[in-house]
Symmetry: C2
Subunit: 361 residues, 2 copies
Amino acid sequence: MATNRDVARLAGVSPATVSRVLNDSGYVAPDVRDRVQRAIAELNYVPNRLARGLRKQRFAQIACVLPSIRNPFYHEILLGIQEAGLARGYTFSLFHRIAKKEEYLKVILGGFYDGIIFLSPFEVEKVYNIAEIGEVLPTVVYDDRGHPFSVPHVYVNLRETMYTNVTKLIEQGHRGILFLGYEFAVETDNPRYLGYMDAMREHGLKVLPEYLQFIADFDDTLSVGYKRMTTVLQQRIPFTAVAASNDLLAIGAMRALQQAGVRIPEDVSVVGVDDIEMARLVTPALSTARVPKRQIGTRLMELLLGTICGDEVTSSTIEVRTSYVERESTGPSATGTQLTQASHASAGVDAMDRTEKMRGA
Amino acid sequence: MATNRDVARLAGVSPATVSRVLNDSGYVAPDVRDRVQRAIAELNYVPNRLARGLRKQRFAQIACVLPSIRNPFYHEILLGIQEAGLARGYTFSLFHRIAKKEEYLKVILGGFYDGIIFLSPFEVEKVYNIAEIGEVLPTVVYDDRGHPFSVPHVYVNLRETMYTNVTKLIEQGHRGILFLGYEFAVETDNPRYLGYMDAMREHGLKVLPEYLQFIADFDDTLSVGYKRMTTVLQQRIPFTAVAASNDLLAIGAMRALQQAGVRIPEDVSVVGVDDIEMARLVTPALSTARVPKRQIGTRLMELLLGTICGDEVTSSTIEVRTSYVERESTGPSATGTQLTQASHASAGVDAMDRTEKMRGA
DNA sequence: CTCCGATGTGAAATCGAAACCACACCGGAC
DNA sequence: GTCCGGTGTGGTTTCGATTTCACATCGGAG
């Protein structure tokens, strides 16, 4: 690889002048600039980002920390982030569950990154204090828990979103509505759960304990929803609708239901959250809440660039809004409960065996 | 951020000794080692990767170049890559279509990366010569075209895979089999197409021009398959099976078929390639060819590490094998053609309207 | 007792670019 | 004619780590 010096030698100038041409700083005579540029082209010179980064204390690289690379929800956010960042020459590194939690932040703080973007950092927060990280390195967060953050923060009110989803089901006559979602250490960390409870309470509906299907271990596999719903079906819980915490869970649940012969939405309605593209491609198409993923990404990057450049640590919060999208997986509740129960009965024993195996694994 | 010097000062030694402790190189007295380690802990010192990289000419960072971040197929490969790499402290940057082709390789070659992994680099090759890149920087490739590569290379014979898929359909009595896939500049770049043609020819089946559904513009959206199949349905092409080039296309196609009232597999069989997790979660579950994605990833990383460490450029090729997975989306061909045609007719106008809308968006 | 290799440590050079400082030239204002 | 700010360029230092070289000490072999 050619260096600064090589170019300088070839152009008959000093390395300082080469640097000036490259960075468009200071005064350079037109003919000299030309000579340098020709030399750069001839040697195929690309400045070494490490050296530049070391000197500038700016590396044009951003770390994105996210729970899972498998959830398409995050892809769209990432695309938004990159769109906003690549134009300015930023590159991106991804860190997700596979990286050992105790290790990767050491790596990140090791001076390789201009900033960090945390997407849904609930896992991260078990180990690290984001406020502290924010003091060392420009940091922004996407989160749905409504926590106050000391760093800039994009927020989507999923409590409200879930409330709307469940209310739509209730309005269609559903009473036995399952909550399907992840379990958090603290109730207040679970806006989707809270929204579900809000809606049920407000409409005077009883929440049976069996309705609350919390998935404890974080498993970023696409089939967690399927596994859980398969278990649920063996337990003969009477329900006519499922309010899932995200589309992947909903799609998995739909699969389990359909496999057991339950018709959607005739017997059971299913609703999700996120509106990933796959939601439109499954049959029946999934009713869900649209979250402006792309927009979240660009907003995050804008916030981060703001923090990196303008040195003020403005602890701004941007809220984005969701909208309910009705498709085919929801419908009025008929005599749903009975039908569902019947189906369970026929699939009972087989299904039981399968679940026991899954639990063991 | 604390530096080398700070630690040295606190421990009462020279920076050279700190470095020795950190890298476990040379001789260090046990008590001194202890003092240094305490100082490191106290200052919360993390070595600056840029400085280290600059000096060592090794940066412990890998660039992954892939066509799309949206296709789950690549996620599993990425997980395999990272699994094999993170243990040794490597971090990863992702580059995909969103990055301007002309730009990103400049970035990559700018000395930030120890190596490049190209996943399905057909797009890349239009602009760059991978052999040349391989001479500058350790490079490995995953590809399915059976091209000879001058760099280490993981290969999966998708021509054979597609041949098997189509043969299975033929054995089930299908004759009118659609090929749904991407269009490449050159025929030989399209192993899936070639495998399809092999199977059809070998069984003496005629390939009507309408059977070949090439998607020209690369569009990494999940619904390309849906869009194309919607168009196909309006054209009343007689067919009883669809051999898609990957699972996403297959899932999209299934959606279009189901939306038009076509039953799968009773009226039309659909088969994919990749075996992404979603293939098991759609209804009916998708028959497909399992590609060992995780394994491809680990193999790639092993090859790359080999190239980075052992300086020999062993142009090794590793071939991984696929296996056919029969699920629910395929079945014997009945009087399929008639049924399908009938369905088209009844759904014709509606489908048309919907498609037009999608196009507009 | 001397010599030598193993052990242990520090000063200084180095990686490649950017920033800082110094200097030189030129034209116009006073 | 002198002074001064704008223009243009080069030498040197710096970023933070590793690495090389040089040097000191020590124990055992000859």
